[in-house]
Assembly symmetry: C2
Homo-oligomer: 350 residues x 2
C-alpha cells in the first residue's frame, strides 16, 4: 500500500542500499544510477519514512525549541529566527529539519516533560529560550536532562537564558538583563526621577531577578533608597501591568515613573495611567524592556532596551546545527541597547 524504499529499488533496478545512498547523498553513487533512482522516487511518489530512518540511524531531523509563550512575539521572533537557520543541507535525506516548538507556559513540569519528549524523539538539537525558573530542585532536574540529552548526541543551546552547569555542555547566549535594567533606571534618574515604581515579572525567574537587580543597582549607585512598596510582581502580560500600576499608584500617588518588566507590561501600565487621567510622560514616565515591534507604535513611543532577538535566535540556530563556532567558554553575553523615546521625560515640577 504505502510505497517503501524497496519499491523504489525494484523500480530503479538497484538495491535498497543504493536508494538509501542516493537519498542521503552521503555516499558516492554513479550519476546514471542516481538519475534512475530519482526518477523512480518521483514516479512512485515515494516519501521517506522518518521514524524508520531515525531508528536505523539513531538520530532524527527534529530540533526542539522550548518557549514560555508562543503567542508572545518575544518568543515568536526568536523561534522564527532559530527555525530559519536549522534548515538547509546537512541533515538526513534532503537536509530539511523540523522545528518542534514546545510551549511550556512557564511551567517547570512542562519544561521537563518536553525535554523528555524531545529526548524520546532523539532530537538533533534543543534550544531553550527565555529565562529559567529559579528553583534548585528544578534547576538540578533540568541540568540532569540536558546532560543526558548531550550524552545522547543532542546539541543543547540556551538562548536568552543564563548558562547551565558547565558539565551539561550546553552553549549559552545570555541577554544582559541586569545591564539593561540598570541603563533604563539610570536614564530615568538622569532625567531627575526619584520616585519610581517597578513592575517586576513573576517571582523565581532569572529574567525577573536580573532586571530588577539592574534597577536596584542603579538606585543604589545614586543613593536612592529602595522602598519595597514600590515593587510589585506580576506576570509578563498587559493585564498584570495594568493592575500593578493601579496598585503602585494607590500606594504612592506621587510616583513620577513606572519601570515595567517588559514592553507588554509597559503597555498595560500606559493604559492604567491613561485611565487614571495621567499623561505620559508629563505626569508619569514609562519604560519597558525588549523593544518588541509594537513598542515604537505606542503613543508616546516607548523608551525601552532593544534586545536583538532575531540575531540571537539565528545564532542559536546556527550553533545548534554546528554551523557556527561556539563562543569561548560556551557562553556569550548579548547586550541590549537603550532606546530613548517619547514615553520618558523630565518629572513634573523638575
Amino acid at each position: 500500500m504505502t510505497v517503501t524504499l524497496a519499491d523504489v529499488a525494484a523500480r530503479a533496478q538497484v538495491s535498497p542500499a543504493t536508494v538509501s545512498r542516493v537519498l542521503n547523498g552521503n555516499y558516492p553513487v554513479a550519476a546514471s544510477t542516481r538519475e534512475r533512482v530519482l526518477r523512480a522516487v518521483d514516479e512512485l511518489d515515494y516519501v521517506l519514512n522518518g521514524p524508520a530512518s531515525a531508528l536505523a540511524a539513531a538520530t532524527s531531523d527534529l530540533v526542539g525549541i522550548l518557549v514560555n509563550d508562543i503567542a508572545d512575539p518575544f518568543f515568536g521572533i526568536m523561534a522564527g529566527a532559530i527555525q530559519s537557520e536549522i534548515g538547509g543541507p546537512g541533515g538526513r535525506a534532503g537536509g530539511e529539519r523540523l522545528a518542534v516548538v514546545c510551549n511550556t507556559g512557564g511551567s517547570p513540569e512542562r519544561e521537563l516533560t518536553y525535554l523528555t519528549l524531545l529526548q524520546r524523539q532523539r532530537a538533533a538539537a534543543v534550544v531553550l529560550t527565555g529565562g529559567a525558573v529559579e528553583n534548585t530542585a528544578h534547576a538540578t532536574a533540568v541540568a540532569t536532562k540536558l546532560r543526558k540529552l548531550g550524552e545522547a548526541g543532542t546539541r543543547v543551546v540556551l538562548c536568552g537564558r543564563p548558562p547551565a552547569p558547565a558539565d551539561t555542555d550546553a552553549v549559552a547566549l545570555t541577554f544582559d538583563n541586569r545591564g539593561g535594567g540598570r541603563e533604563l533606571t539610570e536614564h530615568l534618574i538622569g532625567l531627575g526621577h526619584r520616585r519610581m515604581g517597578y513592575i517586576a515579572g513573576p517571582e523565581e525567574r532569572t529574567t525577573t531577578r536580573h532586571r530588577l537587580e539592574g534597577h536596584r543597582d542603579a538606585l543604589a549607585a545614586h543613593g536612592i533608597a529602595d522602598d519595597p512598596a514600590r515593587t510589585v510582581h506580576g506576570r509578563y502580560d498587559r493585564r498584570a501591568g495594568y493592575e500593578a500600576t493601579i496598585e503602585l499608584l494607590r500606594r504612592e500617588p506621587g510616583l513620577t515613573a513606572v519601570v515595567a518588566a517588559n514592553d507588554t507590561v509597559a503597555l498595560g501600565a500606559c493604559a492604567a495611567l491613561r485611565d487614571s487621567g495621567l499623561r505620559i510622560p508629563d505626569d508619569v514616565s514609562v519604560v519597558g524592556f525588549d523593544d518588541l515591534p509594537f513598542s515604537i507604535d505606542a503613543v508616546p513611543a516607548l523608551t525601552t532596551v532593544r534586545l536583538p532577538l532575531a540575531d540571537a535566535g539565528a545564532r542559536a540556530g546556527r550553533i545548534a546545527m554546528g554551523r557556527e563556532e561556539v563562543p569561548p567558554g560556551g557562553i556569550a553575553t548579548i547586550r541590549g541597547e537603550l532606546m530613548v523615546r517619547g514615553s520618558t521625560g523630565v518629572p513634573k515640577g523638575a
Copy 2:
C-alpha cells in the same frame, strides 16, 4: 549503552510486550506487574525510543502546525491554542504529543515542503492556519498532499483557512473575512465616510481577497464608486501599512479613512498619519482587522474586527485529536465581531 525496553523487561522480570503495554496503557495489566515495570523504568531511567515506537505502530505523536509567520501574534495565538489541546491522555506512551510548528513565511514551496516532511514523520495530525495562496497549481498540489496525508491516517484541519476540496477530507474552520470586511466599511460609511483608502494584504491570498471583497461589497451596497487608486497592496506588516498610507495620501490627500488589511498594518498606518500631521480620528479614521492584543493599546484604540483566534485554534486542536465532533459538511464558518473604538469617528466637515 542506551537502555532499551528489553532492559526494563529483564529488570522487571516480564516480557518486553508487557512493558510496552504498561507504557502505552492501552491494555489491561495487573496492578502489581505495572508497579514492578514502572519501578524498573524509573530505576533504569528509561526513555522510550520515539522513532522505534512510531515505526512499529505506523503512527507518531507529532502534530504539525503550519503558520505563515510565527513571530506574528495572529499565528502565535492560534498555535498556542492548538498546542494546548493536543496534549493530554490518549496518545502513545503517556499521551504527550509534540507540536511541530512550521514557519512557511507565506511561501507556497515551503508549505509543500513542510507537508512532505510531516508526511515523512507520519504525523498524527496537521493543522494549517491562515489564508491560502491563490494559485491553481499550488492549490492543486496542496490538495493532493492533503489527500495523501489523509490516506496515511493523518487528520487534517484547516484553521482560519478556506475549505480544501471535499475529497481531501480536511475539516475547515473558516473565518468570515468577507463579512468582517463588510462590517468595517459599513461602520465607516455609517459615520459618513466616502473617500476611504484600502491597504490590502499580499496579492493572491484568500484572506486578502476576501477582506477586500467585503470592503467592496459595502461600497457597492451604498453606491460608492470603487476607485482603484484607493487600494494599495502590501505585506501584512507595520512597514507596509506605513508606506501604503503615505502613498494613499499622496494620491488623494482628502482621504477621510484608511481601512487596513489587519491590525499590524493599521498600526503602521496610524504612524504614517501621525507623521503626516494628521489626527486620528479627527482628520482620518483608521480600522484594522483581527483585534490582536495590542490593538486596544493603540492610541486611540483601534476599531477592528475581533477574530476568536484562541477559540478557533483550540477547536481545531480538538478536532485534530478526534475529541470534538466535526462540523456538518466538514466546514464551519467563524464570524468576527466588530469592535468600535476610538480610531474611528465622523469625518471632518461632516
